[in-house]
Amino acid sequence: MTEAKLAGVLAGSSHLVSFGVPLKSENDQTTLMPLNDAEEDFLCLNGPFPRGESYWAETERLASDYTLFIWWRGNQHIADYMFASDPPFDFVLSDQIGLPIMKDSVIVPEQMLREKFAPTFDRLETLVKNVAQRAHRGVFVCGTPPPKGDTAFIRATLAKEPYFVERLATLGRSAETVPLTAPETLYKLWRLIQNMSRDVAHRHGAKFIPIPAESQTPEGFLRKEFWFDITHANANLGRLFLRCLREHLQEARNASVQNFA
């Protein structure tokens, strides 16, 4: 890759699937693969799933030659809280304080949720910090899709996804009757995770790219045309996001040219 055509590498969590990338490599090897991108601006780092240390080490190594776009987890709210807690809880999101609080819920401090989620960002913190401490071509931490605001869709999809089938079996509940966390609360949890991702990025001089606003309803949920499964978005979001990423890649290219001038 020439200096004039600095490429971006997309790396990270399962949300890469919306860019048409397989969830995992066939032989569990970590390899760069081309993205379905006519302009050949982007590559994707494919590898084993769940991602292991070798994958993240390779991501760090690539920072010297490519602009990195990192998707970090982004499913914590779904994995931990899709099923309603007993008693249900809610919280005041500090950057959107006007959002409603669910009736009859226990209010927990946002700080408590931050401490709960904090360990899930440890490796991202290390990754961005390590990259920031060496020569690199720009690092961006990218937003992940918001939850869907449609409980009927979620119930209908729960029984099709192995992770939730297992959880339901453990709870002894069915997809039809299991209490679900209110979509409004899930939205706040998602937003908090985005904020925490952004904070990690900013602490180490990286930028955070939020999910494109056009993908969200006025309430903040993922618009229906971008739905894939309970957690992930479809290729429509990948295409929309890629346009946004291209702008940031151009910024990185410009900065790179200035650095080498």
Binding site: D80, Y81, S85, D86, P87, F89, F91, V92, S94, I97, G98, I101, V106, I107, V108, P109, E110, Q111, M112, L113, E115, K116
Partner: protein
Amino acid sequence: MHPYKTLPDRSFWSRSVSKGFKAGDVGTLPYPLLKAGQKVMSAGSCFAVNLVPYLERSGFTYVRTNGRHPDFRNIGPENFSYDIFSAAYGNIYTARHLLQLTRRCLGKFSPQEDRWHGDGIVIDPFRPGLRYFARTDREFELLTKQYLDSVVAAFQFCDVFIFTLGLTEAWRSTLDGAVYPACPGTIAGVFDGARHEFVNFTVADVVDDLNSFVGEVRGVNPNIRIILTVSPVPLVATTTSDHVLAATVYSKAVLRVAAEQVISDNEEVFYFPAYEIVAGPQAPKNCFEADLRSVSSEAIKTVLSAFLDKCEVGSSETSRPQNQATLPRITPHELAALSARISAMECEEAGQDFLSQ
């Protein structure tokens, strides 16, 4: 024949203190002080924390109305003693603080300086060391309402309320007299000589506050039994011009006299002599740790054994106080795991000493 002829041994120093001292004989208390299975709420100074595990091990239901949500039990513990006590109020050192808390819960008092704003955080001046603080005014208001409601619920739910009087010295707002558990500017907030003043409560103050408290809490729970104790833990520091030892003796004397007055003024209010057992001249030298302030585990065991002797508890050894090392207690090691800024403090009062060094 004269009146002393018929008095029991416990009335004579030579027969009950000089020799044959029994901690359980000191108090003048009904039996049982607590009935088996009763629901107990407690509050007070840091010494009061020690009571909680003993009560629970003895089969009493320790009322908790503001416990950690089950989804968050695997994250770090709250600072100080906030979530050890019944409703997360932490240490309450003075009778005035207890009364004002009760009035806040009942909607009868709203402190004007009810929050301090920091860098992206909103601090509760009455629980200034909270680890899980609020970040916005709206969050602060909702969390505070939930907290105050939980205090009322604890008062309504409990059969017995145990309050350990700790201090007469306090800092309060000049605006409305709201009493803080720690001097503003020590644990959190900013000290302002125009808005914050020192107060050393008198016997009359403490009596009035406790009598008012008894009346007001019985407005929500008419049958509540109240047990008062005085903490034997000396003051960390005094803001009076007195030596801290003299200030301590004054403070404890005031609290002890006030407690006596209050039990005579009210039905179903009793005094348990924790202070006398630990601080009396009969107490062994190992009642205090090397700093001559921290009450030793042996002394705590002695106090709680005497307390439980007055209660209807199971007879098995497991319900008796055991070596303190086996019981949950705030230790320096645990404290070290708390937030870095206040890691060396066991309570707000100690924090004032730590942060002044």
